[in-house]
């Protein structure tokens, strides 16, 4: 019953598109889309404003009809899936204006249970526990009693995500979720999304302009290239994507390889052991490092001076994900892994 708690087989394709064409009426925005979304996969969807990110998300979520082609959800054609059944499998997080609407945070999040409850809106015990669990996950339990029109954009965003989680989806679509968030809230959100993907096998597709944040957690990047006629969507592995960008540095799309874009900072989610190792490793490169704690998560900030070698920054960007992946392993493996990816440094004791 609870999809979130079921044990997902990784690499299983949840949703796929075949020669999909999207847009409004006769106006085609994107065509020839052959995309796959797998269990536990985090996909960052990037592209310029108006390139069709939101339309793609709405079409995949089954809220907007496609022009041509096919979308398959768990092997079924999406068109034939009942609206209610769609909502049990897929949830969408997009900007919600709560102006003039008087509801408590809890009532709002309870909307996520609508696919599961009857016409009289009565919430069962399981519904209540899913709602409070969802609120806890986004650290918004304290917003349950607040009136939603009095919340800040960031607080509202958390409730919108909690509402989506209350739908117990296997696939989560987010439309620019970091837009109104401050830096630390963005990091909390990224952490949450990664946890949901890792621990619960939730597949996540997020349209975003904050690629410097999302490339840290995403497995795949869907890049809408509007310069091409007709526009194309390139799906690539995040690491390949970043290397590709490095290799063609003069290209139009400038990734946050430039330290200035980062405000000279890189954030790494680090458990204690890794933090110690990372400190030694990074000191060797003469990067100033500060540590801070956001709620229960430790983060390391690295500040680089302008003269730092670009290749070092790129090395860090590419290996950040590896560092966080191996952080779950044993101490010995960790040392070996860091040594193997650190080409410039001596052996670490």
């Amino acid at each position: 019953m609870n999809i979130l708690n079921s044990n997902p087989r990784s690499n299983e394709i949840l949703l796929s598109t075949d020669q999909l064409e999207i847009g409004y009426g006769t106006q085609v925005l994107l065509s020839d889309l052959n995309l796959n979304i797998r269990c536990g996969e985090i996909i960052a969807l990037i592209g310029e404003n108006g390139s069709g990110k939101s339309t793609l998300i709405r079409t995949l979520a089954g809220v907007q009809p496609s022009i041509a082609g096919r979308i398959t959800l768990n092997g079924y054609p999406l068109q034939k899936v009942d609206t209610n059944e769609k909502a049990k499998n897929m949830a969408t997080v997009s900007t919600v204006t709560a102006e003039n609407i008087m509801l408590t945070g809890y009532k709002f999040v309870s909307h996520g249970r609508y696919p599961y409850i009857g016409w009289n809106g009565r919430l069962r015990l399981t519904d209540h526990s899913v709602i409070s669990e969802s609120l806890e996950l986004v650290k918004a339990s304290h917003l349950a009693e607040r009136a939603i029109h009095s919340l800040s954009d960031g607080e509202m965003q958390r409730l919108v995500i909690a509402r989506a989680l209350a739908q117990e989806p296997t696939l989560l679509f987010l439309d620019e979720p970091t837009m109104f968030l401050d830096q630390s809230t963005k990091l909390i959100l990224l952490n949450l999304l990664r946890d949901l993907a890792l621990k619960r096998g939730l597949a996540i597709v997020s349209a975003t302009h904050d690629i410097e944040y999302f490339q840290q957690i995403s497995d795949t990047i869907w890049n809408i290239d509007s310069e091409q006629v007709p526009p194309k969507v390139h799906s690539s592995n995040t690491e390949d994507f970043i290397i590709g960008i490095r290799d063609s540095f003069s290209q139009r799309m400038v990734l946050p390889l430039d330290p200035v874009l980062f405000h000279n900072k890189i954030f790494i989610d680090a458990p204690d052991e890794l933090k110690t190792l990372a400190r030694q490793l990074f000191r060797r490169h003469a990067w100033e490092m500060t540590e801070f704690k956001v709620k229960s998560d430790y983060w390391i900030t690295l500040s680089m001076d302008e003269d730092s070698d670009r290749s070092q920054i790129q090395w860090l960007l590419i290996n950040q994900k590896k560092l966080s992946e191996i952080s779950g392993n044993s101490f010995r493996e960790l040392v070996a892994a860091i040594n193997s990816i650190s080409s410039t440094s001596d052996q670490i004791p």
């Binding site: 709405r58 979520a61 089954g62 809220v63 907007q64 609206t83 209610n84 059944e85 769609k86 909502a87 049990k88 897929m90 949830a91 969408t92 997009s94 919600v96 204006t97 709560a98 102006e99 003039n100 609407i101 008087m102 509801l103 408590t104 809890y106 009532k107 909307h111 996520g112 609508y114 696919p115 409850i117 016409w119 009289n120 809106g121 919430l123 015990l125 209540h128 526990s129 709602i131 409070s132 349950a144 009693e145 009136a147 029109h149 009095s150 509402r163 739908q167």
Partner: protein, 363 residues
């Protein structure tokens, strides 16, 4: 153990959010409505002692036979009509405000009221010239019924157009404009009819436009009551869907609501309500816009599970009160109903909205 913790947690939360607890405002509304229903029966142009009312109601006998007739054949149907019309118009207004996300919408926005008015204008202003009136006269209906019959035909015609448009048009905004434009077209054809009609017929048409809860009587209630109850039940049963619609259609779809069906059902029930009311009581204005706002102010929520019952009560209260005032208790003359609803109600709504705006700090 974690399960046990969870249950404790949930019961705490349920205490914090008493969805089933009835707001005090609703209880007050129930008592106010009961008092007003009694007043509606007890008060009128002719003074009947309260002690006699009791006799008439429960023993069905009175020292004065005329009083008996007045209470049973005028005041009781009149009051029932007011309660039903007020409640259903209020809730239809709420449906429209939510569907169109527009605070000044009511069921007349669909053009159904204009359709009914047009039907009445045709039959009253041209007289026997229309097929509807010919048909009605053929089966021996009197004037009041002919008016009703033409109004129903006019309303049904517009309802058909609106539902057809709802299937074709995706945006509710465009639907709103189609409704308004239909109203304008029908309104202008009524103006044309007025320009060439007999002064006597014009007078009849205008007095029909005043609105009245007395005209249906028991015979009208036979049709009015089931239709209005039906539209109110449909609205009540779609409270969950309307809640989902608060944040727009895409949002509703994303949480599993079939908005196409919802739109059709909502439009149909509001249109049936507007059409029926206009046909039997004339174009009753104001209640549809005001009742939802007063209900929101009283309950301080946008949750339709609370808002719909409250709006039903508030609509009934406003209509019954307006009817009592329009009767000018103790006087022979009767004021036009539509004049009363807006004249007294509009300042109240403005005051309520301004007060409510400052108290919730909403922009």
């Amino acid at each position: 153990m974690p399960n046990r913790n969870r249950i404790i947690d949930v019961t705490n939360l349920q205490k914090l959010f008493p969805s089933k607890d009835i707001p005090i405002a609703v209880v007050l509304c129930v008592f106010t409505l009961l008092a007003l229903i009694f007043c509606g029966i007890a008060l009128g142009s002719i003074k009947i002692p309260v002690s006699e009312i009791d006799n008439i109601l429960f023993a069905q006998e009175s020292s004065n036979a005329a009083w008996n007739t007045i209470v049973w054949h005028i005041r009781i149907p009149r009051t029932i009509t007011a309660v039903l019309v007020g409640a259903s118009l209020g809730v239809a207004g709420l449906q429209m405000q939510t569907l169109f996300r527009n605070p000044v919408a009511d069921s007349s926005i669909l053009g159904v009221t204009a359709g009914a008015t047009w039907g009445v204008a045709l039959s009253v202003l041209i007289g026997t010239a229309t097929p509807a009136t010919n048909f009605a006269s053929a089966i021996g209906w009197e004037f009041a019924s002919i008016t009703t019959f033409s109004a129903i035909l006019g309303a049904a015609l517009v309802l058909f157009v609106i539902l057809l448009a709802a299937q074709k048009v995706r945006s509710v905004g465009i639907l709103l404009i189609i409704g308004l434009m239909t109203s304008y077209v029908l309104g202008s054809s009524v103006t044309l009819l007025l320009a060439y009609a007999d002064p006597e017929n014009i007078q009849r048409y205008i007095s029909w436009g005043f609105g009245s809860f007395r005209s249906p009587g028991w015979r009208g209630l036979f049709w009015l009551a089931p239709l209005l109850t039906l539209s109110s039940i449909i609205a009540t049963a779609s409270a969950k869907q309307l809640n989902a619609l608060l944040f727009g259609e895409a949002y509703a779809k994303s949480i599993g609501i079939n908005t196409r069906i919802l739109k059709t059902i909502t439009l149909a029930s509001a249109a049936i309500c507007a059409g029926t009311v206009t046909a039997f009581c004339g174009p009753i204005t104001f209640i549809g816009i005001a009742a939802p706002h007063i209900a929101r102010m009283l309950t301080k929520t946008s949750d339709h599970f609370v808002l719909i019952p409250t709006t039903l009560l508030v609509g009934a209260i406003v209509a019954t009160l307006a009817e009592i005032v329009a009767q000018l208790p103790g006087h022979d003359s009767v004021l036009p109903l539509n004049a009363i609803t807006a004249l007294i109600g509009a300042p109240i709504v403005i005051w309520v909205l301004i007060k409510y705006q400052t108290s919730t700090d909403s922009p």
